[in-house]
Amino acid sequence: MDKTQAPVWVIADQIDCRILSVSFQLIGRARKLADELETSVEAVLLGDNVREQTQQLVAAGADTVYLANSPELYFYQPELYTEIIVKLAQKQQPQIMMLGSTSMGRELAPLVAARLKTGLTAHCIDLVLDKDRILEQKIPAYGGLLSIICPEKRPQMATIASGVFPKPEMDAERTGEVVELEVPIDVPRRIETLEVVREEPKGVPLESAPIIVAGGAGAGDPDGWQQIADLANTLNAALGCTRPAVDEGWADLETMIGQSGKMVSPECYIGVGLSGELQHMVGIVGSQIMIAINNDAKSPVFEKVDFGIVDDGREFVPVLIEKIKKYQEKKVTC
């Protein structure tokens, strides 16, 4: 088969039989790439009781869905999932394989890539074809965008976070082929997922929040961080952060915004004590208004926002909270 005719793959991700939105977003992008390459989009879905969900993948743009459906696959099981995908990839020889930057994708992608002896790019923020029809996998670095390519080995593999690509139009009339896979029995079982525990997310979820307040290294200490959290509370906003806030232990990794964290698209973003580093800023996709508060008038963050305030966050934020509260009270009594 001509190399360019090899399919474009998406490994779908599901939790409790529900396909995650990132999988549809990736199929949307895979469709565009496949159309340019004049080839097909194939999705791989592993799980239990997920046969009906294959139609959703077709509706999103898949031509073929490979389905492994078995109670053993209800949870992500590293060895079994890897084995099924590797064996199928060796047979079908996809030229591109995309996975979501989900907890499963982030572990499964390198397990599959190493077995297939191919390259893998983490947390891409764009995927385009170059003039030789090779996949350019873009990541932010050094204040710019780096294109990574995998010129010789196949498939070209990448992980992409939810929110990087839009969800495609779902076409319920689209038809596609569903190919059922056998679950192999000779796979070693040195590792097993015994249980998955989901906890209620704390606070307003970042993904759907109209307002996001994000804090950075400039918070200075836990008290400074608490002020930023109070500002978020006052605005009924979700609280996000940059990496130093996670490193310092003020904030949870799950609230980190950016290339290796969450992609968000609020109506309003307020960044306090952060420098506007590209790895963080790429995580804010199309916010209508962006505001930065930073004590350094020369901070690069002011090149990336609509409104800037030069002030010490630790002094300014408490005043801002008071003013917001006053406004809110006035509004209620009006």
């Binding site: 965008l145 780096l146 040195r190 015994l194 609509d306 409104f307």
Partner: protein, 265 residues
């Protein structure tokens, strides 16, 4: 006895403000000298090993791949309480992507010999791919758990660990030998002690290059890396900033005004 290998990486100090940037005019990298430190999450990996050693009979080997200067971070880990240090350093290892790095480290671990547990940080602060742990496990043909936040059971051949998930965790049962990549929730890394630094003086660091590893050059460094950087481009912001000025009170009031106009409050 439990044989533990901890993989550590020397990274430019993430706390240093001076980042490497591209010059928007010349499109070349503007480098600056930043001191090397132990990758922050690798300190949690070290701490996990040290705690196991305190609980029972264990031997800790520290392994790093990097330039000769990375020897300093191996020394630091010896001062923290590791027993032996190994540095994989050779120009042939240079320019490795995650795949080639994982391969080289796996060869280093095989040469160290018997091991039950390999700990590494979930990601490095400068690369942040999260690939090295799982790819290394694949090359060693042993299981891996990524994002470990709690070791529930560490007696015997089967361990149980909790690994972070979006809003929750998964409980995993793993047969040793295995690789674990750890998050900062796992523990609080200890700091260096004076006595540790003194004791470390007597500990050895073995430095291995391509000949010691006995691996063909095609599988290492740039040559062994499936991915390459093809292009570096600058980005431009589409936003035009309006600076809000005045006294602190005035600035806050104006900002509230802007938020109200935008309909967000």
């Amino acid at each position: 006895m439990l044989n533990i290998v901890v993989c550590v990486k020397a990274v430019p100090d993430p706390k240093e403000a001076c980042n490497i940037k591209i010059d928007p005019d010349t499109k070349t990298l503007m480098r600056c000298e930043v001191p090397f430190v132990v990758n922050p999450l690798d300190k949690n990996a070290m701490e996990a090993a040290l705690q196991l050693k305190e609980q029972g009979d264990a031997h800790i080997s520290v392994l790093s791949m990097g330039p000769p200067e990375a020897g300093n971070i191996v020394k630091e880990c010896l001062a923290l309480g590791a027993d032996q240090g190994f540095l994989l350093s050779d120009p042939a290892f240079g320019g490795a992507d995650a795949y080639a790095t994982a391969y080289t480290l796996a060869k280093g671990i095989e040469k160290i010999g018997s091991f039950d547990v390999v700990f590494c940080g979930m990601a490095s602060s400068d690369g942040s791919t999260e690939w090295v742990g799982p790819e290394m496990a694949t090359f060693l043909n042993i299981p891996v758990v990524t994002m470990v936040k709690e070791i529930v059971e560490s007696e015997g051949e089967f361990w149980q660990v909790k690994a972070s998930l979006e809003n929750g965790y998964r409980l995993m049962r793993v047969q040793l030998p295995a690789v674990f990549t750890v998050t900062r929730d796992l523990n609080t890394p200890r700091t260096l002690s004076f006595s540790g630094i003194i004791k470390a003086r007597k500990k050895e660091i073995s430095e291995w290059g391509i000949h010691e590893l006995g691996v063909p050059a095609e599988l290492l460094g740039v040559k062994g890396s499936p991915t390459v950087v093809s292009n570096l481009s600058t980005t431009e912001s589409k936003r035009e900033v309006e600076m809000i000025s005045g006294t602190r009170e005035e600035k806050a009031e104006q900002l509230v005004q802007k938020l109200a106009e935008a309909g967000v409050i």
